[in-house]
């Protein structure tokens, strides 16, 4: 048996030293920048985790500070919010949008829909370009790639002069450039000659749908200078160019990463970690469940691979379950981005979600959140409305003396006072109310979890939940119950697992293009694949085809292996699985050719903490069944192959794990913790 011990140094305040038996060479480091803290994991002679306060005014500062003085000989893995934050804060470059004449307003019209269905005061989100900076130029390419109208050189020269005079960057999106990029390339040349920083839609995303492609190109051009400066700063200050976690769940060198490919950098780290755990355990179908203070992220790992989608969004990712669109919170920003992203659903349920009685007399939990400030009532920072954290504290799940490693005093009495007020208002017992808050939070999250399973044609019965984040391991087993899932896995270091996940990623590059042809046109298809495939030395390539029955407008992605009749039957089957029918005689059309290049990069170890400690005393915790005596353990004190029955609470660093009654727990030889329920046959 192999033990890895790790050293935990939280905000340089608490230091716990352990010993190591195995060395990992060279020294590698992961750094994940979050809203409040920047998490570091350093692997050399064991594993060190530490946190520094993030520095939003200059995000590179906390990263550089945390790495300074460390002799990193291996890779630096980095999760960043630089592009997301610059976008949401409007800190991009002044950018002009260049498109075909007569279509100057396409970004403002969008898809002509309003974000909220029942809203008399309609407001669409405003793209980061002023209507005065949207230019329509002569020239037109048809859907088959033919030139219908030539560009006008004189007009382009005048335009370039104007952009220079106004000191604007440029985003160029011309019709059907995925089919024939000639006009875009020529406009690009003129911009280049004039030293105007620009992005061409055929380079940023080779996919059809002019609004989505135009928006993606605009966002790319708008963020490029900020993101480039940041990466340059890191590359020159750090001992090594960092590998950036991209939204697609893969890594790439800082210099090669486009801003639009990083919007899900943090959550993608969790998904990458999920893939690693799937590979390590052989449990190939997982739903990752990362719950923190304000929201919960979920992503499914199917057959060992992260599920991804061709298009995501920047802005508000949160699913608003109550109204047909998201909540309005001042100036909202929510736009499509044509970039491969891990298929993550985010729901506004976290430890800070507020519980209240609504005017219909029903108990509601969230989506309002007390956030980190004032936070839950028990923080004693002025929070007046009870939250999920308050309920879990009063249920006995959270130990007030061990919260966040004991750095934080929690006021149980105050929390209970507010919960009593709520219980009185509802006309219910306190215990019932506390348990109710917990169960309602779980039912909200299970509704979201269905969005990434049942709505995608997947049966939750076939999945295990991988739970992490501060609050994930507290809710996972009960959430699993709602969905009929019988196994929950808690990885090591659940509190910083997203950062760990980044270390386990592969280098992944996506090259794709819209291409319409019938599946049977093998020769044509092979030619396009050769055109798109980058053939990087030492990289594996996987070809993925976007396929649909001719006439449909959504496609399914399928790996291009085997002969055409193989692919055809796999397509029919996948269609049947997802939508409940297939159409065997129908023509299958290719709409997208996608080459995924991969190279392994990450570490392949599972950190393990062990210390010979005395476990805390049992306590009484509140469950649906009532107040039950509950065993309490320190996770670091659990040995391989140890096991026990619920109810139990297992204290981990920065996270608490709950094993409900009727569930069992066990630790495997590598230190992974399993919470399982026996299935009644």
């Amino acid at each position: 048996m192999v033990f890895y011990y790790y050293d935990i140094n939280i905000t340089k305040l608490v230091q716990q030293l352990f010993y190591t038996l195995v060395r990992y060479k060279p020294m590698v480091l992961a750094v994940d920048v979050g809203g409040t803290f920047t998490d570091f994991i350093l692997i050399e002679d064991g594993i060190t985790c530490y946190k520094l306060p993030s520095t939003p005014d200059d995000p590179s500062r906390s990263v550089i500070e945390g790495i300074e003085g460390k002799d990193i000989t291996g890779d630096i893995f980095h999760g960043t919010t630089i592009a997301t934050n610059a976008f949401l804060e409007g800190k991009g470059a002044d950018t002009a949008f260049i498109t075909n004449r007569g279509f100057e307003d396409i970004l403002f019209i969008g898809r002509q829909t309003r974000p909220k269905l029942y809203d008399l005061f309609v407001k669409k989100d405003k793209p980061p370009v002023s209507s005065g900076h949207s230019y329509g130029i002569l020239g037109r390419i048809g859907s088959n790639g033919d030139i219908i109208q030539e560009l006008n050189q004189k007009e382009l020269n005048v335009l370039a002069d104007e952009l220079k005079k106004k000191d604007l960057c440029a985003a160029v999106c011309l019709f059907h450039s995925y089919k024939n990029p000639l006009h875009e390339k020529r406009v690009g040349n003129i911009l280049k000659q004039n030293d105007i920083p620009h992005s061409l839609s055929c380079d940023v995303t080779g996919e059809y749908r002019e609004y989505e492609r135009g928006m993606t190109t605009l966002i790319d051009a708008y963020l490029k200078p900020t993101v480039k400066d940041y990466f340059d700063e890191l590359s020159s200050s750090l001992p090594k160019t960092p590998l950036i976690m991209k939204s697609n769940g893969g890594l790439d060198e800082a210099g090669r990463v486009e801003p639009v490919d990083t919007f899900l950098s943090g959550p993608a780290g969790g998904a990458a970690g999920g893939r690693f755990i799937a590979k390590h355990t052989g449990i190939k179908n997982l739903v990752t469940f990362d719950m923190g203070g304000t929201s919960a992220d979920m992503c499914s790992i199917v057959d060992g691979e992260i599920t991804w989608k061709d298009q995501g969004r920047i802005g508000s990712f949160q699913v608003d379950l109550e109204s047909s669109a998201r909540e309005e919170s001042g100036e909202s920003q929510d736009f499509p981005v044509q970039s491969e992203m891990v298929d993550i659903v985010t729901v506004g349920a976290g430890g800070g979600s507020i519980a209240m009685k609504d005017s219909g007399g029903v108990l509601r939990v969230g989506p309002q959140s007390a956030g980190a400030d004032p936070g839950p009532v028990c923080y004693g920072k002025g929070g007046q409305q009870p939250t999920i954290t308050d309920a879990l504290l009063c249920a006995g799940y959270i130990d007030p003396d061990y919260f966040l490693g004991g750095k934080f005093d929690l006021d149980t009495e105050k929390a209970q006072g507010k919960l009593e007020e709520l219980a009185d208002a509802l006309g219910m017992a306190l215990d019932e109310t506390i348990n109710g808050i917990y169960r309602i939070a779980n039912s909200t999250m299970s509704r979201s979890m269905k969005k990434i399973t049942v709505e995608k044609g997947l049966d939750p019965d076939d999945f295990s939940i991988l739970a992490f984040g501060g609050a994930g391991p507290l809710h996972a087993a009960s959430l699993a119950d709602e969905l009929g899932i019988t196994q929950v896995i808690i990885p090591p270091m659940p509190g910083v697992f997203s950062a760990f996940g980044m270390m386990t990623g592969d280098l992944i590059r996506d090259d794709s293009r819209t291409y319409f042809t019938e599946l049977t046109n093998k020769k044509e298809l092979e030619e396009v694949i050769q055109e798109i495939a980058p053939h990087h030395e030492g990289w594996e390539e996987e070809v993925i085809l976007g396929l649909r029955y001719k006439g449909q407008s959504y496609h399914l992605n399928l790996t291009y292996t085997g002969n055409i009749s193989d692919i055809r039957s796999r397509f029919h089957k996948k269609h049947m699985d997802m939508y409940g029918f297939s159409r065997d005689g129908e023509i299958i059309e290719v709409v997208k050719v996608h080459v995924k290049s991969k190279k392994s990069a990450g570490v392949e170890i599972l950190p393990r903490e062990y210390e010979d400690v005395e476990h805390p005393e049992d306590r009484r915790c509140l469950f649906k069944e009532g107040l039950l005596p509950t065993s309490v353990y320190y996770r670091k004190g659990l040995r391989g192959n140890e096991k026990g029955d619920g109810p139990a609470v297992i204290e981990d660093t920065n996270s608490t794990i709950l094993v409900p009654p009727n569930w069992k727990w066990r630790v495997d030889e590598d230190g992974l913790l399993y919470i399982e329920k026996e299935v009644k046959k």
Binding site: G102, F103, E104, D105, I106, F108, I109, Q112, T113, K116, L117, Y118, D119, L120, V122, K123, K124, G142, S143, I148, H176, Y208, E210, Y211, E212, L321, E322, S323, S324, K357, D358, S359, G360, V365, L426, M428, E432, T433, N435, G436, R439, I440, S443, S446, R447, K450, K451, V454, E455, G457, G484, Y549, G551, Q552, S553, Y554, M578, Y579, G580, F581
Partner: protein
């Protein structure tokens, strides 16, 4: 008497609402017509054993009031057993207009009857005299396509081939078949999830839930209505027909109830602006949803405090064989504006000026293709904000079809698609701009347009100016021909259609100083 706690109601609410949500996701992704998959012109719902609406995942407000009627018609006309699915589109038996096809599946768990899953989707063609089944000049229902009275499309688990054969005669029949399969598939998924949810909570608890969730929605809806001022107001508006057709409304609010009385509305016409009663129900429910908190679940209870009275044989409650294809899309918008017109008098700060008030329906096709699209326009300005530009308002929220998709799939070329500058009414707050869309025909085609507000400007409010009327133009050999608000005509290769959609009304006098 129900025994559910305030906690159990909330937990079960999430579990049951997620069923139509999942059906909708499945339907959108697996259907064929751009109408359903791109424009999301569909709705899914869940009903109790006594046919009470329990949950609805709607994407289009115009389906709000229509689902319960469809279910009632199916129950009345058909014997239902396990493994059945019922299909209908008859506007006089639970439908609204023919392209909207509803499919209903009763659901059992062991020997217990649980209720129904229902979905409705707008098909891009259902026969009739013109491609797209929305002829601008239809006079009777027969002109608009095939009429399906409630009947089995699946009988005891087996698809009824005779019914499927009806569709094989239609234009683009394979697309119809695909969409119908998608609709049946969504119901199968819904039924499976419905059964699972009931098994999880138990039958007794499910029955309590039915009672409680309906009562809960009703309680909260009544409370929201109670918060409005009392009023009793009469207003009228017109639909553009040969002679303008008047719609009348007396709207009354008393304590926690509302009454909508459409007495005085004109007799039905020999044209397609007639709207079956469920269309008006939908318009009323839409405005109600805008007035009440948006977290109230949509169930039968929401509609309890509302009484709607529509006189028979009028444009808002016609009898067969009146044509109706424009009722759902255009008349519905006018009914909303009529209700808002009443509300402007009592809640001036909660109401916007008039918006484009039309969906600008265009259908183009020939033997090889059908393309249907609606176009956004200007929204009305309101105290504190300009009206939004180029957007769908009120009863629809369907996406446009990407131009690259139109040009790839159809023999059409789009020559311009931009905001119609200056079309929004001026004022302290400006009305939203309409849209200009120009489509060139690359083959000889048939063109149908159904639009409104071509003669009557969307009105400004509180001194704001009116928005501009919409215009429909045909560009032929360099000549611009003005078209009516409703047309059905052949067009030739090389000709272009230019649609200019109406702007929204402005709010407040322009010369007043705008305070920020």
């Amino acid at each position: 008497m129900s025994t559910l706690t305030p906690i159990e109601i909330e937990i079960m609410k999430h579990a049951f609402i997620s069923i139509p949500e999942q059906m909708g996701a499945s339907l959108q992704r697996s259907s064929y017509s751009p109408n359903i998959k791109e424009r999301k012109d569909e709705s899914c719902a869940l009903f109790s054993a006594d046919a009470k609406l329990l949950a609805q995942a709607e994407h289009i407000p115009v389906h709000l009031g229509a689902m319960p009627n469809a279910l009632d018609a199916a129950i009345e006309s058909c014997d239902l057993s396990r493994g059945d699915q019922i299909i209908l589109n008859d506007p006089y038996m639970g439908g609204t207009h023919l392209p909207d096809i509803t499919i209903i599946k009763p659901v059992w768990s062991d020997e217990h009857f649980l209720g129904y899953v229902v979905n409705r989707a707008h098909h891009s063609d259902i026969g009739g005299k013109t491609p797209g089944s929305m002829p601008g000049d239809s006079k009777t229902l027969q002109d608009e396509g095939i009429v399906i009275q409630p009947m089995h499309i699946v009988h005891k688990g087996i698809i009824v081939e005779d019914v499927m054969d009806m569709f094989s005669e239609l234009r683009c029949s394979s697309e119809r078949m695909g969409d119908l399969r998608a609709q049946m598939g969504a119901n199968e998924l819904g039924a499976r999830e419905f059964t699972k949810a009931v098994q999880r909570f138990g039958l007794d608890q499910y029955q309590d839930f039915v009672e409680d969730i309906v009562r809960y929605s009703e309680k909260r809806t009544r409370e929201a209505i109670r918060g409005l001022p009392e009023f009793d107001i009469k207003e009228k508006d017109v639909m553009e027909w040969k002679e303008p057709v008047e719609l009348h409304l007396r709207m009354k609010k008393e304590e926690d109830e509302m009454k909508f009385d459409f007495q005085g509305t004109q007799q039905q016409v020999e044209g397609n602006i007639n709207a079956p009663a469920p269309v008006t129900y939908s318009a009323v429910y839409y405005v109600l949803r805008c007035l009440i908190p948006d977290d109230i679940p949509i169930t039968a209870g929401c509609y309890e405090p509302v009484a709607i009275d529509i006189p028979k044989d009028t444009v808002l409650n016609p009898k067969p064989p009146a044509a109706v294809s424009s009722g759902n899309v255009e008349t519905s918008q006018r009914v909303v504006e009529l209700i808002l017109k009443c509300l402007r008098r009592v809640l001036p700060d909660m109401m916007p000026a008039e918006s484009q008030g039309t969906m600008n329906n265009i259908t183009v096709g020939n033997d090889n293709f059908t393309f249907y699209e609606t176009i956004g326009g200007g929204a009305g300005a309101y105290r504190g904000g300009d009206g939004e530009d180029g957007v769908h308002v009120h009863m629809t929220n369907t996406q446009n079809t990407p131009i690259e998709s139109i040009e790839h799939e159809y023999p059409l070329r789009v020559n311009q698609y931009r905001l119609r500058k200056g079309s929004g009414g001026s004022g302290m707050y400006k009305g939203g701009e309409g849209i200009v869309k120009e489509i060139e025909f690359l083959e000889d085609c048939h063109l149908s347009i159904q639009s409104e507000r071509r003669d009557h400007e969307p009105k400004g409010m509180n001194g704001g100016k009116n928005g501009k009327c919409g215009r429909n133009l045909l560009l032929s050999n360099g000549e611009k021909i003005i078209l009516e608000s409703r047309v059905s005509m052949d067009v030739k290769t090389g000709e272009s259609l230019i649609i200019k959609t109406p702007g929204g009304g402005g709010w407040g006098k322009k010369r007043s100083v705008r305070k920020n």
